[in-house]
Symmetry: C2
Amino acid sequence: MRDVYIIGAGTTKFGELWDSSLRELASEAGLKALMDAGIYAEDIDALYGANTSGGQFVDQEQVAALIADYSGISELNIPSIRIEAGSASGGAALLQAFLAVKSGHYETVAVGGVEKMTDVPSEVANEIIGGSLDAEWETFFGATEASLAAMVAKRHEYDTGVKREDYAQFPVIAHKHGSMNETSHFRNVIKIEDVLKAPFVSEPLTVFDTAPISDGASALIISADKKKIKNAEHPLRIKSSTAANDFLSLHDRKSIDRFGAVRKSTKSALELAGLEVGKVDVFEIHDSYSIAGLIQMEEILGKEAIRMTRDGEFYYNSSHPVNVSGGLKAHGNPLGASGVYQAVEAVLQLRGNAGTRQVKNAENIMIHNMGGLGTTSVTSIIGVD
Amino acid sequence: MRDVYIIGAGTTKFGELWDSSLRELASEAGLKALMDAGIYAEDIDALYGANTSGGQFVDQEQVAALIADYSGISELNIPSIRIEAGSASGGAALLQAFLAVKSGHYETVAVGGVEKMTDVPSEVANEIIGGSLDAEWETFFGATEASLAAMVAKRHEYDTGVKREDYAQFPVIAHKHGSMNETSHFRNVIKIEDVLKAPFVSEPLTVFDTAPISDGASALIISADKKKIKNAEHPLRIKSSTAANDFLSLHDRKSIDRFGAVRKSTKSALELAGLEVGKVDVFEIHDSYSIAGLIQMEEILGKEAIRMTRDGEFYYNSSHPVNVSGGLKAHGNPLGASGVYQAVEAVLQLRGNAGTRQVKNAENIMIHNMGGLGTTSVTSIIGVD
């Protein structure tokens, strides 16, 4: 099969962006990506839009058509399809775009992820976020994503002997990295005590264990067109992109604190890329909750991940950099955009454009995007060729 | 590129199915499609779920993960992605599945479309349906899809001289065909006077000019696996599948009563299939509104379509059969399922299993699924080889 490259990337700032609408955010990111790729809208064969809950947040479905419209490409009749997989929507859109280009049907495709979450009160936002859980067996009975994550955390402590302080490291790492990223929602550095002493969201998880409610958009241009790849300043190859799913309800799973889909999708992404995990230089993972971040790293690196967390090996200047963007926790989590931003971060790092948080000599980056608590898992590996 | 076949199809009845939940409908259709293909869940590499507004209708996002769960395939970690393109979601899911199989990434894929619309009052349902319009420039100002369709109708009368009675033929044809289909929402035959004298939804359109609010699910199994294709009783080739988009807002378009995206996607579907339009034996189109049905046929066949409508040439036993399933109008319109059911109908017709509404010697069927009023247009051509 032919190779597929990322030839352009763009993002808005993530945060509480009350002055910007869904459509403005999407078109800002889209236009930046087009300009970055050095191409025009006419060069795009299709658009894949990632959005989790536009219908509920801003009464807007058919979001991909809206993005196309406001990016000024509607006149060209470019097919525009929305991809949804809970908060894995961004990664899933990249996967579908990758497959569509690989199939030969399209040469050059735009991937845009966007979510506008702060137009509703936060309790409403949390209800909408709960839409990615099982409505009949979880949310109907009052479960929220945070309360389920808290149960996962308690069970994981019981199963593995991991301590509260261990997974509390994840937000600390994220804020350290996020402080060095100008598009971050949060740029403050925090300490482990800040995480432990903050108000509970659902015991033992505090507000610092959870990613924020954010607005934002990110976009990519991917292509298999040899001329466009040659003209691009820093084309980066998508070495693999793949997905796996688990049961929607936690109670259906054999173990609530293991993410089988994550294990499967990250493993198959490595296989498809022809890489050992040791060859991955940077991991951008889905730290919607601190405990979810830790379990993902365990699924990828094994139990050793717990020790690495404790020993500070996940910082940008250490052996296994994780979430050098600031992650969902500090860079922000506009659901549909988060997975697309992970790829934007990979582009910045692999181009050497990541400023003070630059990882040295990074050649392969794994990005892992997750819907619900391990329900949908999408992994891509992006690298210099 | 390699050929892709539909090897299994299944559907629930469409209608007001108060005793069945979203998940029950989806799994019923999915299991029927698997049994029809003569394969097991283990044989599926991925699932594409079409759903327009699960988040709003039944508080459920990540719908594809839910479908996988209730179809009993979650244990297999099969990737499950939801596709949304307004009421073109079903066609768009088929397109993505087709491209994913064509790319070589997957061999055999399930496509499921489902919508559960009758759990909310009809005024709420109509608001949710409005989510496929432009929230800021249309629905915010009180426009509904029906009122915009009514404007399109008036403009089309003005532009072309077409008469109210002409497009009122579409529901009459649909009900005639739907009366012969046991999975139809409506099985009553109606006359042109019934359409004209029914209560207005938005003048000049009456309730009989509009497709109903329905529950239902449909599913397909598509494959490029030679063994599975050989084992299937009636494999049918997807000769092409393609999409095009138009502006989301009607006011942005050069002409509100022309559907440029429909013209483009139907034309390119023919080109990709290597067929002249004269070789298409049956058209399943998106008659969400009678006027939309007429305009689609004009985009496909030219102005001649108006005369054909008047002369009764769109019946199953005439020269250009249209919506032999009963269409969205009579067979029903559970948004995400409608586009998938169009392919199920193509399968029934091409296998010769369509009972009293069987079109004789059909070899090529065009299915056209639309999001909004011509915003997203997805066309596939399915045929005996």
